[in-house]
Symmetry: D2
Subunit: 322 residues, 4 copies
Amino acid sequence: MKRIGVFTSGGDAPGMNAAIRAVVRQAHALGVEVIGIRRGYAGMIQGEMVPLGVRDVANIIQRGGTILLTARSQEFLTKEGRAKAYAKLQAAGIEGLVAIGGDGTFRGALCLVEEHGMPVVGVPGTIDNDLYGTDYTIGFDTAVNTALEAIDRIRDTAASHERVFFIEVMGRNAGFIALDVGLAGGAEVIAVPEEPVDPKAVAEVLEASQRRGKKSSIVVVAEGAYPGGAEGLLAAIQEHLQVEARVTVLGHIQRGGSPTAKDRILASRLGAAAVEALVGGASGVMVGEVEGEVDLTPLKEAVERRKDINRALLRLSQVLAL
Amino acid sequence: MKRIGVFTSGGDAPGMNAAIRAVVRQAHALGVEVIGIRRGYAGMIQGEMVPLGVRDVANIIQRGGTILLTARSQEFLTKEGRAKAYAKLQAAGIEGLVAIGGDGTFRGALCLVEEHGMPVVGVPGTIDNDLYGTDYTIGFDTAVNTALEAIDRIRDTAASHERVFFIEVMGRNAGFIALDVGLAGGAEVIAVPEEPVDPKAVAEVLEASQRRGKKSSIVVVAEGAYPGGAEGLLAAIQEHLQVEARVTVLGHIQRGGSPTAKDRILASRLGAAAVEALVGGASGVMVGEVEGEVDLTPLKEAVERRKDINRALLRLSQVLAL
Amino acid sequence: MKRIGVFTSGGDAPGMNAAIRAVVRQAHALGVEVIGIRRGYAGMIQGEMVPLGVRDVANIIQRGGTILLTARSQEFLTKEGRAKAYAKLQAAGIEGLVAIGGDGTFRGALCLVEEHGMPVVGVPGTIDNDLYGTDYTIGFDTAVNTALEAIDRIRDTAASHERVFFIEVMGRNAGFIALDVGLAGGAEVIAVPEEPVDPKAVAEVLEASQRRGKKSSIVVVAEGAYPGGAEGLLAAIQEHLQVEARVTVLGHIQRGGSPTAKDRILASRLGAAAVEALVGGASGVMVGEVEGEVDLTPLKEAVERRKDINRALLRLSQVLAL
Amino acid sequence: MKRIGVFTSGGDAPGMNAAIRAVVRQAHALGVEVIGIRRGYAGMIQGEMVPLGVRDVANIIQRGGTILLTARSQEFLTKEGRAKAYAKLQAAGIEGLVAIGGDGTFRGALCLVEEHGMPVVGVPGTIDNDLYGTDYTIGFDTAVNTALEAIDRIRDTAASHERVFFIEVMGRNAGFIALDVGLAGGAEVIAVPEEPVDPKAVAEVLEASQRRGKKSSIVVVAEGAYPGGAEGLLAAIQEHLQVEARVTVLGHIQRGGSPTAKDRILASRLGAAAVEALVGGASGVMVGEVEGEVDLTPLKEAVERRKDINRALLRLSQVLAL
């Protein structure tokens, strides 16, 4: 393999730049050229490509977002679109791809593998941590710490006003962020999509907590844990609630910012491993970190199998939020 | 004056604790005792009081929120409520008050001065910076920097996805936060309550910016700048807009967190000055910092006169957001 | 077991408070009382004890340092001192201990177990991550991120002035902090105690890097990697170096600050697990997290066996720092 | 004036990039071209110049350091060196200069004005805040907050170990950083170059504080306040001191990082004002902000007159550090 392409796709995640840097420099060390493809599959179809040398990725390890940009592409969802993309890759002499992103990215990559025989290795870059085959995805640790910092701030107000705050964090289908943020933030209640949420039970927890003398409480709600998110859950509880409550939706601040050490290291490790795997002949797989070791998982499994949250931690959070 | 009371009221603001610390220690240095009144006017009516010695305010200069708590009181809005509060103050031997808060706090304080002759000196503690008689209020600098940090994060995503973000910051009647955050955050448009907001003009600015090659933009909107805030403004523009846009409401994260150096210094200075003024016989006034010097302003003026935003900075932001 | 004691000892680490909170609340959930022992073994000898209820540990999960304080005790190093300490524990009705700290703490704990049969379970709380039996110690993740933030700042200056910076991080006997910080910070060279450091080789790496066009570089040096630390290493290299170089010793800022999500979760998990183990009859063991699961390791092993750094990551850092 | 040059020189300061951005965009708005001169006077002599368009300064307002780099130049200290530099400026068609830096930068600028009649307007960019003619210099607010954050971290350890910490901050000739950081950090003692430091008096303050029950203390020392800095001061006191004390030198972390809102706004304002002044015919002056308004001061005065620290704040810090 003489030349590979790298791109980011889907929602941006802190650490994507560190992964790009690792791909470029590991490839260089193996004598392989790297072409950066801009704006994900949309740019692939348009042939938006730029050679990436080792100095082009200097001083980006600490930056949020992605220097290669990202976009969603309707056209790539069609067979014709993908054929166009493949033609551009061939024209550029690209013999293999490193795809950095989440499950949408990997579904697209699988099509390239299956329809055109293009070798692709995936790198899990998404704040949601909802990919099977890796204990953590790149961006998750940063998102959790950003959300936690926000909760620490809100707690100042919650405590000063003796109020309950319902804080909505990202996670439409998965409660990873909510669970870690809730446990680390000392939340009274953590609502995740993986477990049924009973508004009456939530209200009872909050009231019991008030009776024990806890004047302010934090409820962390994953977007997809309840219809309408945090706002919806509060509306369903309002009448049972004796205390004043407020809602804050953290939103897009969770996506950005300089990556944590953990995300930079994970991205460095997986970016380099992806190049090694690709050059070594692997395709249709995702690199991940499992119990501290780099591991390969078929993209199909990464996307289709479900990684569960740690339910023991969810129970622990209830014990500790006395 | 042998004994004074101190309390915080209204929305909490970072630096309130630094102000309490300064009040207690400056009073101690002058041989005056300090009683902390908890939960603002609500606690005053209930007689929730606690003596504050110099060690009781140790290690709080860096904490957000307020150790004295804050609350809103319906009862204090009535003459009877205020009479009850005054009786409690008398019973506790309190001869003067330092009131830390915003305009609601000061309106209440004025009633105590006028109806009961209780000496009160106000300290401007609110993130909104909307008080006449001080260049900055305690908490404003921290709120601006917190919002700015959030915008820096969102810009990573805006740039990576080439999107426009509408970010709503606090400020129902005043655009101070929006202006500073927008200028410091490199916002394309800053919408403040002090100036009419024309959706069509906003759309034109954004389109012109896209034509010049700027792919992502930030629009900062003060809560009260447009009906419905950022969401409302985007809805009014949507049809004219060629690019994808998202809304983020920063909300309560702007209130909390450890105060900046500037807020701690301002709080220290004004807290100490309030005690000196009170002990020196002042009443019905607010201490403020004007052009670097401590100044006294009648509470009535502080509340009723309007402090304007710096319109030259608003124009500058338009020049610089090319 | 009706009543247990908890204490922190040795250098403070972010997350110790989260561990104390977990110990108190998990014990409460099991119907066991908790006594906080202040100032480590020194306070144990003096009988400085205070009952800890669930509300006493409210709002501390996010605080750095330790509310129980810590100290070093010469007296406890003697048999007589330990007998005194044991007598105080008996007098207070304490039937078991949770010891939060590093290897010095655990050596002391082992003596209590062996000489007096006092049941003790250890919780690994130290920023150094140098304990066998746990993948990470409480405080390590925070220390790494704090040091990384400092390096990101210094890189601004390094890049602007085109200089080399030698940055010393904590780690007298172990290179865990240096390795993670160096890899995440994009350091050109990482000097750790686990590998011989050849000044001439370091100089060559830096010069080769300059020849490749990299104008500024970061060298991360663990305290114990070279005689005299970063200062010593630079002195040994100076004459071979063509560029201007500066030294910064990060020092104590690495110990403090609000713990990261990861440290709070680890502390919560291990604090709770320690109580469960102790109440379940365990003694002379340390709770740790190994490959994501809670595990018990004899204190003797935790202290005597050596946990190695990940040498693959060290080599990766050399590939990526092109 | 059709074309101007802009450069940064001396120690880098957070906000320099925001100033460069303002210079470029304000010039553009006035129809004036901007040439960026790299590496300060050294690059000027070498003719390292690059045209700066409005998009070249996009997305830099939040970055620390300086995209134009900075350097020290021995050659520019000679008349010949300056003549060479002037020739390069002429060759490039540069009719005026905006010089961003501190007093060394301005001394150099004055020579260009006096020897060659080159119009120059200075912008105060230095973390030290030691320039006459502006209440604050660009970078000062960020440096103070960075140092304060470090002190907040160290206080966790100081409190947990009941120790005294001597923390050295930047400031060889001026105590601005030390004063603000010390006051905001609740320091027991603040040692500045502007006031004589008596070790015995410092020891007495610390002992009195211990007697009052304050177990841990922070002493903030400006580099130039005492021979040998913090280390020197502690050595001079050691024998009088009953408690354990440690030294931390904050060093270069104070220079870097993303600028605060205040520094970005100040930089935006002064960068734009410098262009307006230059185009309007001003030369040999520095733009500054005095009592909230933009003001011009002769470079000679800016460099030679001494701006004093606020001694009232120094006394206040002693009252509040009870």
